[in-house]
């Protein structure tokens, strides 16, 4: 709670705009939740990953692209209102607007403004432009809610063009060695990013769960590079000459074993560390992430000029402690975010 001295009288300015409840992040003044994990009447939604948007809320508010995504992923019956980036709606006097978070297509930071008090809930974000999600924009605010998935100084990414060059070289080598290139990537976000940045040299084939999502995204107005959805009719020879993008559930599937000697590449920020690469026992690991790296997190937070930071998931206590020692008031908060999208059973659907 912030205090301000006005004409000699100590006045308590505003009540905090958000609180952390067992249903999720709650805005009392506006009577709505942001990315709740239990059913509520009104859910303001940052993006379409399963740990941020769940089935069962009465109303949803999100960006146009996220609307298309959640209708495809959760249910076409959801009641969803959607906005453009920068557009504002007012609910019980609280202004709500969405601003690009650069995490995945449609991902947004939620900006709340009420009587001059500004709070930004960023969901998940990354600072580097990935070529397909609208680029991250820093928003000045009093309170900033941040992730810290990679909130340790050992996680700093290489520029994405370097990583994509590595992936391309690897894929071409596989093709020459009569191996089939299979990339493991989350179906929302990483899959589109790979598609967009790898397209051109080798044909790209995607798993049908990614194919369906791509169709919804294209339908919502985001042009994607050319790809083909994998069907049983496609011969293994054809697939061997291309790049296959499949979600993590397929990682140990029989189908992968049925390919012409699959070379499996995992694309994830965790691949930065050897122990994770070995744990995955993949043929290649590429440290490509849709989350901000250490430097990205620090830059983004400084740019908000916020007085209070809440760290909701990732290396929360470590990251909050570091910020506090740097003179930025920060607090770790326990939430249910950070359970990565594709780990959730929802993806475990019919394989090809």
């Amino acid at each position: 709670m912030r205090c301000k001295l006005i004409t000699g009288i100590l006045v308590i300015k505003n009540m905090a705009l958000i609180s952390f409840t067992n249903r999720g992040i709650y805005c009392k003044q506006g009577d709505f939740y942001i990315d709740p994990w239990l059913p509520v009447d009104y859910a303001v939604t940052t993006h379409g990953h399963a740990d941020h948007v769940r089935w069962g809320n009465k109303y949803y508010l999100c960006h146009h692209f996220t609307k298309a995504i959640i209708k495809c992923r959760i249910s076409a019956d959801l009641i969803v209102e959607s906005l453009e980036y920068g557009e504002t709606v007012v609910r019980n006097g609280v202004e709500i607007s969405f601003h690009p978070a650069g995490h995945v297509i449609g991902s947004a930071q939620v900006r709340l403004a009420y009587k001059g008090e500004i709070c930004v809930i960023s969901g998940d974000y990354k600072v580097e432009y990935d070529g397909v999600s609208t680029a991250f924009e820093p928003i000045k605010c009093h309170t900033f809610v941040s992730e810290s998935t990679f909130g340790l100084p050992t996680y700093n990414w290489l520029a994405q063009n370097i990583i994509f060059d590595d992936i391309k070289k690897w894929a071409i080598q596989n093709k020459e060695n009569h191996k089939t290139t299979v990339l493991i990537a989350y179906s929302l976000g990483k899959a589109q990013r790979l598609l967009q940045n790898l397209a051109g040299d080798l044909p790209i084939y995607v798993h049908n769960s990614i194919g369906r999502l791509n169709e919804a995204i294209e339908h919502a107005g985001v042009p994607l590079a050319a790809y083909q959805t994998i069907t049983p009719e496609l011969s293994k020879d054809e697939l061997q000459g291309g790049i296959l993008i499949v979600p993590p559930v397929m990682r140990d599937s029989k189908w992968i074993k049925s390919l012409q000697s699959a070379a499996v590449g995992v694309c994830s920020g965790w691949m930065q560390v050897r122990s994770h690469r070995r744990w995955q026992s993949a043929d290649a690991g590429f440290a490509l992430s849709d989350h901000a790296d250490w430097r990205g997190l620090i830059t983004a937070i400084k740019a908000t000029e916020a007085e209070q930071i809440y760290v909701t998931h990732g290396f929360t206590s470590v990251f909050a402690r570091y910020l506090s020692e740097q003179g930025i008031a920060a607090q770790a908060v326990a939430t249910q975010f950070g359970q990565e999208d594709d780990d959730v059973a929802a993806e475990k659907e019919v394989i090809i």
Binding site: L152, T154, Q272, V273, S275, R278, V318
Partner: protein, 532 residues
């Protein structure tokens, strides 16, 4: 060093033995001979003497990055490897270089008498011109520990493929003591030094756990049964009036066991015997924990000599009269062994367990525990002394371990491959309405189970002490162990030997676990057994 750095990436990247082999063969066919010899040395654990300690490295990286010490420590816990943590924390390099591997090693070695300041300048300068992966490799050169999923066996296979030489020949050549600075690659591989060095040991022959019912092994008469002893497997070598004692870990342990020096008088030159180093009093083998007080000591006190007197139970003879006997059948070797031994009451032939039928052996095996033995070894009487583990001729038939149900109360992040999961668990049994720590274990679960337990720990952590979490006592595990002993160091007053997880008992609740009293009773019953 770029080639070596690429080799390390390739070896780490693949989990397929064939990929690893071809990466090694590729490397060895194009690398400089002076580098190759060091790669063999590093991969077989022959590390050069360390000249820069961990403390200095930590000090420098904290200084360079300006990170608070605690954050460096957190990062290290997350990565699970100091060399890698440093490589990842350093700011991007400013230039490139490709100094050969052997030159880096020799320059590092040359720092032995340098001041801390000179060491610092050397290392910081090196970091500046290496990329992340090369920095990691360079840091590993400083520490000398290359544990990267390459077994000596893989290495030997690659060398055999490359040179066309026999696998056994290469195995023998690269064993024992050799100095990478004194020997050439060709000489090492050809083993021209083997005959000139008296200390040369032979690769140990190992047994597989038996996986068929014993009676399917054929007529009992074809088999020799011995007790399986729980000590230090070793080789005693006497050549040219010199005595050498090797442990299975390829360490020379001659000085640690003065009792065995009588072999110098008792054995003829040109003899190599294989057996077990044990603590033995009045013909009774003592527990491994008794032997333990004699291990890895620079100075041995009189008290230790008295409390844990050493004997050697010989299983086999590998060389006799300077001739390699490994390709003679076991019965021939055993006959020679019985002529050579005993030497006083100290170097003895390992006793043979006599049996006429498998049923009889089953009965005999039941007394293993009372004898402080781990079970029975079965060796075909015609078996040769193989290099390493070969199925069919030698079997180990261990006794069933003890098992109890325990609850997990602490979890800690693993290291290496498991650095990012809580994989090391501390278990407790019930003591009244309290829990008391009884064992720590970290193996026995599948990757999938580890992930599940990991997410339980994350959700149910009560307190945090660095990498350790106190967790809600809820998950029940069945653990197995080989023995139980009184221990003053442990709060429970007893210690388990070789505890490991057998399975996760999802069907059991905390109320169902064993109690401290159960374990005390078990301890009493085993003590009574060894008194008899």
């Amino acid at each position: 060093m770029k080639k070596f750095s690429r080799l390390i990436s390739k070896l780490e990247q693949s989990n397929k033995t064939n990929d690893k082999l071809s990466a090694l063969v590729d490397y060895f066919s194009e690398a400089d001979d002076a580098d190759k010899i060091w790669v063999i040395a590093l991969f077989t654990g022959k590390k050069p003497k360390r000249t820069i300690n961990t403390k200095l490295l930590k000090e420098w990286i904290i200084k360079i990055t300006g990170l608070p010490t605690w954050l460096f420590v957190e990062s290290y816990h997350n990565v699970g490897d100091l060399s890698e943590t440093i490589a990842l924390l350093l700011p991007p390099s400013t230039s490139e270089s490709d100094i050969p591997l052997h030159q880096w090693i020799l320059e590092l070695k040359g720092l032995v008498r340098s001041s801390d300041q000179e060491k610092k300048e050397f290392v910081l300068n090196a970091w500046q011109k290496l990329n992340t992966q090369e920095r990691f490799v360079f840091n590993k050169l400083i520490s000398g520990n290359f544990r990267i999923g390459i077994s000596t066996k893989n290495l030997i296979h690659a060398l055999a493929k490359l040179t066309g030489l026999d696998i056994n020949h290469i195995t023998h050549s690269i064993m024992g003591k050799w100095d990478p600075e004194q020997i050439t690659f060709t000489d090492l591989i050809n083993g021209s030094h083997v005959n000139t060095d008296s200390s040369w040991p032979y690769p140990f022959c190992l047994a597989h756990p038996i996986d068929v019912p014993v009676h399917e092994l054929g007529p009992p008469l074809d088999w020799q049964a011995e007790w399986k002893w729980d000590g230090i497997r070793g080789q005693i070598i006497k050549r040219n009036d010199e005595l050498f004692i090797w442990s299975r870990g390829e360490e020379l342990v001659t000085d640690q066991f003065p009792e065995l020096h009588i072999a110098l008088l008792g054995l003829p030159n040109g003899t190599v015997i294989d057996g077990e180093i044990l603590a033995v009093r009045d013909g009774e083998v003592l527990s491994f924990s008794t032997l333990q007080q004699r291990l890895n000591r620079k100075i041995i006190y009189k008290k230790q000599l008295e409390e844990a007197p050493i004997a050697f139970y010989a299983y086999d003879v590998l060389e006799f009269g300077g001739i390699d006997y490994r390709n003679e059948p076991l019965h021939t070797r055993r006959a020679i062994l019985e002529q050579l031994l005993p030497i006083e009451n100290i170097i003895l032939t390992a006793p043979i367990v006599l049996f006429d039928s498998w049923e009889e052996l089953v009965e005999e095996r039941k007394q293993s525990r009372e004898l402080n033995s781990e079970g029975i070894m079965l060796k075909h009487k015609d078996s040769l002394y193989h290099n390493g583990r070969k199925r069919g001729d030698w079997w180990k038939w261990k006794i069933e371990p003890f098992t109890i149900d325990v609850v997990m109360i602490y979890a800690q992040k693993g290291s290496g491959r498991r650095a990012n999961f809580f994989t090391d668990y501390t278990f407790a049994v019930r003591d009244g309405d309290q829990f008391i720590t009884i064992a720590k274990a970290y193996s026995g679960l599948t990757d999938k189970e580890i992930k599940e337990v990991n997410s339980f720990v994350v959700k149910n952590a009560i307190e945090k002490f660095g990498p350790v979490r106190t967790v809600k006592p809820e998950l029940v595990f069945e653990i197995a162990f080989e023995g139980i002993a009184v221990s003053k160091r442990h709060k429970a007053g007893l210690a388990l030997r070789f505890p490991r997880i057998v399975r996760w008992r999802r069907d059991k609740k905390v109320a169902d676990i064993n109690t401290l009293e159960d374990l005390q009773m078990l301890l009493q019953s085993t003590l009574r057994a060894s008194e008899r």
